[in-house]
Symmetry: C2
Subunit: 135 residues, 2 copies
Amino acid sequence: EIKMTSFETMMEFSEFKTNADGLLPVVVQHYKTQEVLMVAYMNEEAFYMTVKTGKMTYFSRSRQSLWVKGETSGHFQYVKSLTIDCDKDTLLAKVDQVGVACHTGNPTCFFQPIVGTDYDETNPLQVFESVYATI
Amino acid sequence: EIKMTSFETMMEFSEFKTNADGLLPVVVQHYKTQEVLMVAYMNEEAFYMTVKTGKMTYFSRSRQSLWVKGETSGHFQYVKSLTIDCDKDTLLAKVDQVGVACHTGNPTCFFQPIVGTDYDETNPLQVFESVYATI
C-alpha cells in the first residue's frame, strides 16, 4: 500500500527559530489517539523532505545525517498535519504511525513514569503496556 | 482554591540527558483533552520545584531565570504526571491547565497550521478557535 501524499507548506524553514544546534524540535503526536509518541529534530532538508514526501524525516543527532523514520523498521509516520508554535521554535506533527514509534518496541517513547500515574483513561490496555515495558 | 500537591520523583535530574544549553525539553499536554499545549525547558532547580510544588516550573531561556508558569497570569499548570522518554532526554508532562497555556490567549501555543488540517475531531469547537486566533 502506497500512502504517499505530498504537501505544500505555508511557512518556510527560514522563518523558524532553530535551537543551539541549528535544529527545530518536533513533537510527534498520533493523530487519532492524541498520544505523544516522541520528540525528534529537523534541519532544513529534513523539513522539506517531510513536506514533499508526507513521511516524517528527521536529522539524526547521533548519526548526524538525514533519517527517514521507518526506513529500516518499516514504522513510517505519515504526516496528517504540521503546526508551528507561537514563537516559531517548535513544530507539532500529527501523524499516522505504522507499527510502534519507539525503537524499544513500545508504542511511544514516553513509557517511563517518574511522577504521578500516566495512563490514558481512554485506553485501559496502556497501563498493561507500561507494566510490560518494565519487566 | 488551593490544589497544591507534592510529589516524589522516581528518577533524579542527574540521570537525564540535557541539551546543548544544559536544559531538558518538556512537552506539556492537557491530561484530559490530550492537547499538546506547549514546549518549555527545565534546569535542575525547575525540575525539583515542579516535583515539590506540583506546579509546572520552567527555566526561561529569554529571561535566564526560574519561571513558575502562571505566576503572573494565574494560568497555572498542575502536574498530573511526568514521564521520561526512552533515551532520557525529553520529559512529557500531563497537566491540568488553568485558563489558557499560550501568552497570546490561545488555548495552546500550537495554533498556526502550516501543513494539512490540524483540528481535534473530538472537539468541534477547536476549528473555530483556530479561525478566531487568526482574525
